[in-house]
């Protein structure tokens, strides 16, 4: 059982939690993830570690409410406990030997992009952060990103804040203006990572993406999270979650992410109804 030390709403659908997990906090590095279960009969879901504090013994997770499990998770409060919390899993992001990078976050993917930007900034790397959201109300971690970035640029789909359009437009403008990057880190929806990778390929800039496929155990046992990378099957949980964006078969990954869509939708509706009854 792992206690929730702090809970903070970042926007209507995104929540931050600090979880008591001293062993994991000591080991965690940017790019790694945890698997959690909310209750005894709950599903195992992977969430990337957003931050960690070895002194306090806490690990921060940031999640978007997209399904039954994240709905239940969001109903827990400070001092409640998670039933299971295991990690840190996956290979840490490789952040050495860089001078100037672009870190691109899409939506809740910013929660994973942020610790990478922060770590790179601490290493003395010039960081250009480009973040994208559907609209102004959904923006998260703005102050945090600003603190660790030489350049911070926001794009919104509807133009309600920052540049109107997609993160790829912002990145393309920067590249056209002659900005050069040692590496681009792209973390967000699969479709965003796909198009960022296509763009950077034309500029021949090394691009790392963080994959978040469906998982069960997170230790290489089930093979559910497999991806095709450069024509070879890789397990995101043990070989990743970071991969070379120019090698990932995004189209298959997108199809695989839809495997249980109808089940997930139904379960979420059931869960919402259940909470609704309790609230009344």
């Amino acid at each position: 059982m792992n206690k929730i030390i702090k809970k903070k709403r970042l926007n209507d659908t995104v929540t931050l939690m600090e979880i008591e997990a001293p062993w994991i906090a000591k080991k965690a590095q940017p790019g790694q993830f945890v698997i959690l279960r909310v209750h005894e009969h709950g599903e195992r879901i992977p969430l990337t570690i957003a931050d960690y504090n070895p002194q306090a013994g806490t690990v921060t997770i940031i999640f978007q409410i997209v399904g039954a499990t994240t709905e239940q998770l969001n109903h827990l409060e400070e001092n409640d406990s998670l039933h299971d919390f295991v990690g840190p899993l996956g290979v840490p992001s490789k952040l050495d030997g860089l001078k100037k990078v672009a870190v691109i976050g899409g939506g809740v993917g910013c929660a994973i992009a942020y610790p990478i930007a922060k770590k790179l900034h601490e290493n003395g790397v010039v960081v250009h952060s480009i973040v994208g959201f559907r609209n102004k109300d959904l923006i998260i971690l703005e102050d945090e990103f600003k603190k660790v970035s030489h350049l911070y640029s926001v794009a919104t789909d509807d133009g309600s804040y920052g540049t109107k359009g997609l993160v790829t437009h912002v990145l393309e403008d920067l590249l056209k203006r002659g900005e050069q990057y040692d590496e681009v880190f792209a973390i967000g929806p699969l479709i965003m990572m796909k198009f960022v990778s296509l763009l950077t390929k034309t500029y021949q800039i090394k691009t790392t993406v963080s994959m978040n496929p469906i998982m069960i155990d997170g230790t290489g046992m089930c093979g559910c999270c497999r991806l095709s990378v450069g024509g070879v099957t890789k397990f995101a949980c043990v070989d990743g979650p970071d991969f070379d964006g120019h090698q990932v078969d995004f189209d298959t990954a997108i199809e695989r992410s839809k495997m249980y869509q109808s089940f997930e939708r139904r379960k979420r509706e059931e869960t919402c109804r259940l909470f609704h009854q309790e609230d009344n």
């Binding site: 155990d217 497999r226 099957t233």
Partner: protein
């Protein structure tokens, strides 16, 4: 005078057409009358061939003698001297290739139902068991065990009974390893596994779930910072293999590990489960071992109308336990033998709609001593299925190897040990079970755990 009936007492089972719609145990176990009758078939041979067929040398004639005398608890104690998990092994051991294969009664007629008798006494023992805790005085030494499958549990039990403070680290949220995530409820009820684990806890074994050694903590940290004097690595062979044929990443293709984990560990067959599973109409399971049988029979119970076992050799070479193959056939599983998949075909939504296969025939003997399957010319056929489960084997997880310096492994990933002691290339670190041998049986893993317990005891005493 021994009972000279050539036939053994049949195992009472649920009706095949009832059980293939439920998850309750298939085999119901002998009654006392059946057990006494079966025990009386034993001839008590002086040279005890059955014992030599048992990987952990259970004194089989003695425990059968105790059954005859109706001293059932004493019979259990005879087994418990050599086996840590009698109620499990009585159910899942491949007896027909071990003890029962050597039974003299099998020469003319059927061998004594040794496994069935083992199960009978173990179940009786568990019915009676009390809640008290066993107080073994602490001998001052700490041992860590990585993995709570059959090997880890066996090692933990033997060490705890000698006063060692034993901690088992388990990566999943539930202890039991393959006994809980792999073997289905209808073959090994999880209540039985839990009983065995509860017994260990009574002896003071501490089980830490949700700890991935190699990630959360390393073996060196356990030894240097946490005071464990010896380590037993029993991490199994958990990494699933795929065939590397086109279409394997389509939706509806599972590794047997994934399918069985969703079913057994996450209980996705229960309607209120929060873990999804595809409820397919037609399922093909590729492979011929126990895992393939488990997956096929689980798929049937989940509601599939047609379930195929696709295996590239013939019935003779099927590596699964005979009983499982028989049960699978009774339950309506269709065996497509001498067949091998070459491509998986998907629909426009990227879901499986079928599998291209070729027919095989058996050629020359290969290195495994079995006749090698070769492709028959122009034999391609299409199997109309919407779900495919790959049950073609597993390899050891590289996590420990990659995070423990100086630990020698085989090129295929198995940990190198001294066969006599279970010692690895690093002092104080022992290993056993599937992590060493690759995917094998529960009883062999358990035997390796017991051997390691003995060696760890000697290692610590001689330090």
């Amino acid at each position: 005078m021994a009972n000279m009936n050539l036939k053994r007492n049949p195992m009472p089972t649920q009706d095949p057409n009832v059980r293939n719609h439920n998850f309750s145990e298939v085999a119901l176990g002998y009654t006392k009358i059946q057990a006494l009758d079966e025990a009386s078939r034993c001839l008590h041979c002086k040279n005890q061939p059955c014992v030599s067929g048992c990987p952990v040398q259970i004194d089989i004639p003695s425990f059968i003698e105790k059954i005859k005398e109706e001293k059932f608890e004493e019979a259990y104690q005879v087994i418990a001297k050599s086996s840590s998990l009698p109620s499990v092994c009585g159910r899942v051991c491949p007896q027909e290739t071990q003890c029962e294969a050597k039974c003299v009664r099998g020469i003319r007629g059927e061998s004594v139902g040794i496994g069935r008798l083992e199960r009978f006494v173990a179940d009786l023992h568990h019915q009676k068991e009390t809640e008290e805790t066993m107080n073994v005085p602490f001998n001052g030494h700490k041992v860590a065990i990585i993995g709570s499958g059959p090997s880890g549990l066996a090692c933990a039990g033997d060490l705890a009974k000698q006063g060692y403070a034993v901690t088992i680290f388990e990566a999943l949220h539930l202890a039991g390893g393959v006994l809980v995530y792999g073997i289905p409820e209808f073959r090994l009820p999880k209540k039985i596994v839990q009983k065995e684990i509860d017994t260990l806890k009574k002896y003071g074994v501490d089980i830490q779930t949700n700890v991935v050694i190699g990630k959360t903590l390393s073996i060196d940290e356990l030894m240097n910072n946490q005071g464990y004097e010896a380590i037993f690595i029993a991490t199994g062979a958990g990494l699933p293999r795929f065939m590397n044929i086109p279409g394997e990443n389509l939706n509806g293709v599972y590794s047997a590990n994934e399918f069985l984990t969703r079913m057994n560990l996450m209980k996705s067959y229960e309607l209120d489960s929060e873990t999804p599973i595809q409820r397919a109409k037609k399922v093909a399971v590729v492979g011929g071992g126990n895992v393939a049988m488990d997956a096929a029979r689980s798929a049937k119970r989940l509601g599939a109308e047609e379930v195929y076992i696709v295996y590239r050799r013939s019935l003779e070479e099927l590596p699964a336990r005979k009983e499982e193959v028989e049960h699978a056939k009774e339950e309506g599983i269709i065996f497509k033998l001498l067949s091998n998949p070459i491509e998986i075909i998907g629909n426009d939504q990227n879901f499986v709609k079928g599998m291209k296969c070729v027919e095989m025939e058996l050629g020359e003997m290969d290195a495994s001593g079995r006749r090698k399957p070769v492709v028959k010319e122009d034999s391609e056929f299409f199997l109309d299925v919407d779900c495919i489960i790959m049950a073609i084997g597993t390899s050891p997880n590289p996590l420990i190897k990659s995070t423990t310096e100086g630990l020698k492994t085989q090129p295929w990933g198995g940990i190198v040990i001294d066969e006599e002691t279970g010692a690895t290339s690093r002092p104080g670190i022992f290993a056993g079970g599937d992590a060493v041998t690759g995917a094998a049986t529960v009883i062999l893993a358990m035997g390796a755990g017991k051997l390691a317990a003995k060696s760890i005891d000697q290692y610590i005493k001689n330090k």
